[in-house]
Amino acid sequence: MGNDYAIETQNLTKRYGRVEAVSGLSLKVPHHQVTGFLGRNGAGKSTTIRMLLGMTHPSEGRGALLGSPIDDAGESREIRRHVAYVGEDKELYGYMTVQQLIRFTASFYADWRPETAHCLQRRYELPSERKVRDLSKGMRTKLALLLALARRPEILILDEPSDGLDPVSIEDLLGTLGAATGEGTTVFFSSHRIAEVERIADRVCMIDHGKLVAELSLDEMRQDYRRITLGFATPPPEQAFGIYGVRQVRTSGRQMILSAARNANGIVELARSLDAVSVDVAPVSLLEVFLETVKEAQ
């Protein structure tokens, strides 16, 4: 695996006993983009992230961050300097104060940016003298984010970062994540909150039951994905719509709902030639694509 992608995995698999938490996952996460990693609770997102970070070993398959294998101990230490993680283990160093933890972390990184740390601390209203263990969950997330961003990492990986945050803080977090690619950081974050992902992600990977079920660019989705509702005066000619671009067809009485990944024009043209009496074309949301994809995978 080369350095064409910031994160790449091939056939990555994790078994716990007979259960496959992640099964044959092949991911490609491009550089300098915000990629959302979507899936239901228990779909395998956290396990995947833990494997990427070397916190647990794959049962099978391989993966690379910035071209370096994820389970090579020597290389992974080197690579870890360029990768930041904001996730579950926010409890570490609970005995330190916010200020102490910031100084402590800064001492490990030559290119630490004190001005960024300072600016974020003020914005996030993190009290310098408070002990980390006394911070709320949301504040710990913000502190972890501060520690991550002040290093200007090449890859920033986050596991459900908005969990436990209030709406104002979520807004702040999303703004920060969206803007982070401007400094050359690749952002990869897992979430089950689709509306959040839809706002700031450039791309989305969807995982279900440990498998990758879809990968798409959101600009392409907005441009090309359509829900086409057709009405017919006679029983709808369902078979005729097995054409290019149709992802799914649902029929209810004389009405048909098609979901198209492209070729909406061609599909509408076909519908007209088959005497559709009503045609309605509407954009689709990421939620709709997600629900369709996850249902299809079952």
């Binding site: 969206g178 907005r222 043209e269 074309v281």
Partner: protein
């Protein structure tokens, strides 16, 4: 200048941003020499990916509407024909009002009219084929 993008509008976000800048220039809300926020600042403010704003700015620069001076920001470069343009926008608005009024009197609901207008704007090809 406030921009508001709709992630579910069925149009790439960078295109929405470009249209809003263009519209502001056409109406005179943004004028030659006015400064737009830096890419990073705007991305944070409207909560979108940096790449969305970067792409919109770069396309607008390509169109000659925006001038990006490195280190100092993005400036409106195009001359706006403000008086005449905003007058034309006002007249256009009147025509749209008249059209909507007429359709309502024919018994179309607000929702139906909205869909018809959206269809005309976003899927012109598909309407062509229906004739």
């Amino acid at each position: 200048m406030l921009f508001k993008l709709n992630p579910q509008a069925g149009q790439p976000l960078y295109l929405q941003l470009m249209q809003q800048v263009r519209h502001a220039v056409e109406t005179g809300v943004l004028q030659r020499g006015d400064q737009l926020p830096g890419i990073r600042t705007l991305a944070e403010e409207i909560v979108v990916s940096h790449n969305t704003v970067a792409k919109a700015y770069s396309e607008l620069e390509h169109e000659g509407l925006l001038e990006i001076r490195h280190g100092s920001g993005a400036f409106i470069a195009a001359k706006n024909r403000k008086g005449s343009r905003s007058e034309r926008v006002r007249l256009a608005q009147e025509r749209v009002h008249a059209l909507v009024d007429a359709l309502q009197q024919e018994g179309f609901s607000t929702e139906e009219i909205r869909r018809l207008l959206e269809a005309a704007l976003f899927y012109p090809e598909q309407i062509e084929t229906t004739r």
